[in-house]
């Protein structure tokens, strides 16, 4: 280094300057050290008695008080999620003379199984001496009473009363409300940990998850004097927590329960919407599960059973299930075909029972083997003529159909995705097929799209929203699940109702063809309306469309007696709204793997229940 810039550098003057600077810094550092020492004198000498009092005789401990979690109600104030106390037996090492001795004594009046004891031995290392260690959960009222009578015999043992979430309607609302369960480290990362200082549960699914911030509330705390052994002597100050918001859902718990009951052992979904408001009255998915077991802490075996069951009970079919809509798509295509003058109401085809594209050998069959003879649009909807819609599919082309279906809300989630984690479904297009399948769009694809098969996928929720748009004569009222929330100070927040969206002009003549045709699906004997299992004579006017969704293509495997194996059975679908003149309810029903058009029966019973039995409750 010595060789550097010898000519310009003046080592002596540099060295003198440097030493001066070092002196300055050293003086600076001495003064910093003096500041520290003065501060120590201030804290440890001058104010020693103040801090000694705080620390030794009467230490102040700040104890968080958890806020009350907001309740969840249905639209009529029926409780869907509530809080109830549960009792836990705990032992605090610091306060017990001998932890094992205390537990042994307690077990004389409150039985503690070997399993519980083994679990306690496993977890006790995680606790500090002053922390209460849980020994036995879910004590009965009787056990609690017995404990308090003999409490002085058990040094260090205490009973904690914690609120626990209860879902009174169990399976019936599981997919909507979801559940809370114990907070994990991961959960704590995404919330303010100070606010969750004494919170034990956090929403994991459904409304409990998506509205966690509103339901949780703000933590409170109290300052207590504790003696050197950590026992509370006196409460100095209490800052009350403010409870979470109570949430009212648009769900009608009676209708919801009815929907689950009607679905019964089937795997399927029912969505019922009030068309005028877009409020979801029922959103049922079966099979379901009991959310209460997640609050208690589900054991791994039961969880596996739920997770790997072939009917997937944890899965919300109503918002996440993606099904080919089948013939239920026909009224939507028909409306647009008339609107765009692709055809008019007099347009007729002859249906021999099959359809063939020019220059192609492939035959597309109608569901009716011998065909429907001459068919116009009205008849095509009433008898659900496939051949007619094969023609229409080709005449409209995929671009037209894609635009129509998207305008009715298919292919994208309906906008309450944060609550129900919706699937978007799928509305295919030529570019989509190019991108994902690497193949061009064939006319044959349009043929299949015309009857709601092929690549097209919709969720029951989307079908219900689209049906409600039909009921509103072209106005789409975005669906809504939250009715209002009531804050702990009584202030009521209503979610902003999303504005109506015009899909198709209500003055359009097309409506006068399609809606009456949908009515005749139910009532007409000649031609033979397809909704025969719905029943021909409901006590209200109803517009409906049946559907059957083919899941497996190709030749199905059959049993020796000629019947198909269940996994080749088709899904049964049904959409309807009623009363036609003043629609109160729009429903979409999907029943998986069902040969008996069960969806029609469910829809009928649900509409009867709502429009006839519950009439006085909502009029």
């Amino acid at each position: 280094m010595e060789k550097n810039n010898l000519k310009i550098k003046n080592y002596d003057s540099e060295s003198r300057l440097f030493k001066k600077r070092v002196q300055v810094i050293f003086i600076f550092i001495i003064s910093l050290a003096l500041i520290l020492i003065f501060r120590l004198i201030d804290l440890q000498w001058l104010n020693h008695s103040k801090y000694r009092n705080l620390a030794l005789a009467n230490q102040i401990e700040i104890l968080p008080i958890p806020p009350r979690r907001g309740l969840i109600y249905d639209r009529n104030g029926v409780l869907l999620a509530k809080n109830e106390p549960v009792y836990t037996l705990t032992v605090t090492a610091e306060k017990a003379d001998n932890v094992d001795e205390t537990i042994k004594k307690v077990s004389e009046i409150i039985p503690i199984s070997n399993q519980e004891f083994a679990k306690f031995q496993r977890i006790r290392k995680q606790y500090n001496a002053h922390q209460a260690m849980p020994v036995k959960y879910r004590l009965t009222e009787e056990q609690v009473a017995k404990f308090y009578v003999n409490q002085e015999k058990f040094p260090g043992a205490e009973i904690q009363a914690d609120p626990r979430r209860i879902y009174p309607l169990k399976e019936n609302t599981a997919h909507i409300i979801g559940y809370v369960s114990r907070i994990s480290e991961k959960d704590l990362d995404r919330v303010d940990s100070a606010n969750y200082a004494s919170t034990q549960y956090i929403g994991k699914m459904g409304v409990e998850h998506s509205l966690e911030a509103d339901l949780h509330g703000q933590v409170g705390y109290k300052e207590v004097e504790v003696n050197a052994r950590g026992q509370a002597i006196k409460t100095l100050n209490v800052f009350e927590p403010s409870g979470g918001d109570d949430i009212y859902l648009t769900i009608d718990s009676k209708l919801q329960t009815k929907a689950i009951e009607l679905l019964g052992k089937n795997a399927g979904a029912v969505v019922a919407i009030e068309p005028s408001s877009g409020q979801i009255l029922a959103l049922a998915s079966t099979p379901s599960y009991d959310p209460n077991q997640f609050v208690k802490g589900i054991d791994p075996a039961s969880y596996k059973k739920l997770q790997f069951s072939d009917k997937h009970p944890l899965y919300n079919r109503a918002s996440r299930g993606q099904f080919p809509p089948g013939s239920t798509i026909k009224p939507f295509l028909a409306l647009d075909a008339l609107h765009e003058h692709v055809i008019d109401t007099n347009f007729e085809i002859y249906d021999p029972g099959w359809f063939k594209l020019p220059n192609s050998k492939h035959i597309f069959h109608d569901w009716a083997h011998y065909g429907h003879n001459r068919v116009n649009l009205e008849k095509a909807i009433i008898v659900s003529c496939d051949t007619f819609f094969y023609h229409l599919g080709v005449m409209m082309g995929i671009d037209r159909m894609e635009k129509t279906l998207r305008s009715f809300g298919f292919g994208t989630d309906t906008g309450i995705e944060d609550t129900l984690s919706e699937s978007p479904g799928l509305v295919p297009s030529a570019t989509w097929k190019e991108d994902y399948k690497g193949q061009p769009w064939y006319k044959g694809d349009s043929v299949l799209t015309g009857i709601g098969q092929g690549f097209l996928l919709t969720t029951p929720l989307q079908l219900a929203v689209a049906t409600s748009t039909l009921a509103n004569h072209g106005y789409e009222q975005p669906p809504q699940l939250i009715l209002k929330s009531v804050r702990s100070n009584g202030k009521i927040d209503k979610p902003i109702m999303k504005p109506k969206k015009l899909v198709l002009d209500p003055n359009e003549d097309a409506w006068d063809t399609v809606i009456p045709a949908m009515e005749k699906v139910v009532t007409s004997y000649n031609p033979w309306g397809t909704a025969v299992r719905f029943g021909r004579h409901p006590k209200y006017r109803v517009a409906a469309k049946t559907g059957t969704a083919q899941v497996y293509r190709g030749k199905p495997k059959t049993l020796p007696d000629g019947t198909k194996l269940p996994r080749y059975w088709h899904h049964s679908l049904f959409i309807a709204f009623a009363p036609v003149e003043n629609p109160k309810l729009a429903v979409a029903v999907v029943v998986e793997k069902n040969r008996h058009a069960e969806a029609q029966v469910i829809a009928r019973k649900l509409l009867d229940y709502y429009l006839l039995d519950m009439k006085h409750e909502h009029s």
Binding site: I37, A55, I62, A228
Partner: protein
């Protein structure tokens, strides 16, 4: 590293190759740290053992660094600096996130904070930069030095790791000051700095603002951040003049501080050993600092003395900022108490920096004449 060849191998025995003052004080501090750790960790021998291992590792690193000629540090400085910057740039991409900040890199079996390495490399780089410039430096020279310093400082601050960024700034600032920066320039920069406080405030992260506000009004948030400061002051204050005695602290026992083995260990020292213990500890830090300055005054070229000065000041300021934070004088920034707080990374970096200072001392004779 044939540092002693030209003087004969006898020197190895005649003159100790490590500075016995620095070594002695370092050893003393580490022993105090381990004793306190035993108390704080509720007699947890596993914690104590791993701290002993950290110390032994750090000790080895110190001895090794003490053998390297300062000339090598001079030669390597630019390359080390470039590598350091590259590592810092990798952090946002490959870093591990803990407590919302990305500070750690995981390469092969090594897990480390590139910003810690910068604590050694940045002083080297700036000292080298000034070495061949005529001192006192021109404004242009200073400007370039500030640019060299601000790159790693900004990268560290955005991780965010404000504590380390402050330490890097302190080291860089010290070296620039020692190089002979004009007082007038210092005055101008200070005024500009004061004026930019509101602007800085605007750019600070939410949690950083919280910490400053909490320092000013601890009762603002008694459950969260203010709680640490309140409890830390209670621990210190209740210690009194003579302290409660080793293993007798009651405040740490109640687990009032989440970081009582690391950043807040001084509050336990204050509680158990009182004012006397605190003053003794501060004196040991001062003694190490004094020795560091002595060595830097005896060094014969600008590089060595600037490097020794920067490292020494950074060492003391780490201690000052940590203790100031525990006493409620400074905002809570994550800086451990040198050689006492539990943790391997800071132990090894600090021992390495002491090793560099020793090396400057050991090799001074070889440079003269």
């Amino acid at each position: 590293m044939n540092t002693l060849n030209n003087q004969g191998s006898l020197l190895l025995f005649k003159q100790s190759i490590i500075d016995r003052w620095l070594l002695g004080f370092t050893f003393l501090l580490a022993c105090c740290g381990i004793a306190v750790l035993y108390s704080v960790s509720s007699h947890n021998l596993r914690v104590v053992n791993s701290q002993v291992i950290h110390f032994l590792l750090g000790f080895t690193v110190m001895i090794v660094f003490a053998q390297i000629k300062p000339e090598y540090f001079y030669r390597w400085a630019p390359w080390l600096y470039l590598v350091g910057i590259l590592l810092l740039l990798m952090v946002p991409v490959l870093g591990e996130t803990t407590n919302g900040a990305k500070r750690w890199l995981h390469i092969a079996f090594l897990r480390f904070q590139p910003s810690e390495i910068m604590k050694l490399v940045l002083p080297m780089m700036i000292a080298r930069f000034y070495n061949d410039k005529p001192l006192p430096p021109s404004n242009m020279t200073n400007f370039i030095a500030v640019c060299i310093a601000s790159t790693p400082i900004l990268l560290t601050a955005t991780q965010p790791d404000l504590g380390t960024a402050v330490m890097l700034s302190a080291a860089a600032g010290t070296i620039i000051f020692l190089s002979g920066l004009k007082w007038r320039t210092i005055a101008k920069v200070s005024i500009a700095g004061l004026c930019s406080v509101p602007v800085l405030w605007h750019f600070m992260a939410r949690y950083q603002k919280d910490r400053v506000l909490t320092l000013l009004y601890p009762s603002r948030d008694p459950l969260g951040k203010g709680y640490h400061i309140i409890q830390s002051k209670i621990a210190l204050g209740s210690g009194g003049i003579a302290g409660k005695g080793w293993l007798n602290s009651t405040q740490s026992h109640l687990q009032f501080l989440p970081e009582h083995t690391t950043d807040f260990i001084f509050s336990v020292i204050g509680e158990e050993f009182g004012l006397l213990g605190g003053v003794v500890l501060i004196s040991i830090f001062l003694a190490i600092t004094f020795r560091g300055f002595q060595i830097c005054c005896q060094a014969q070229d600008a590089f060595a003395r600037l490097l020794a000065g920067g490292l020494t000041v950074m060492f003391f300021l780490s201690a000052f900022v940590n203790m100031g934070m525990v006493m409620g004088l400074l905002p809570v920034v994550g800086i451990p108490l040198p050689l006492i707080s539990y943790g391997g990374t800071s132990m090894i970096t600090l021992m390495a920096s002491l090793g560099i200072i020793m090396s400057i001392h050991n090799h001074r004779k070889l440079l003269s004449h």
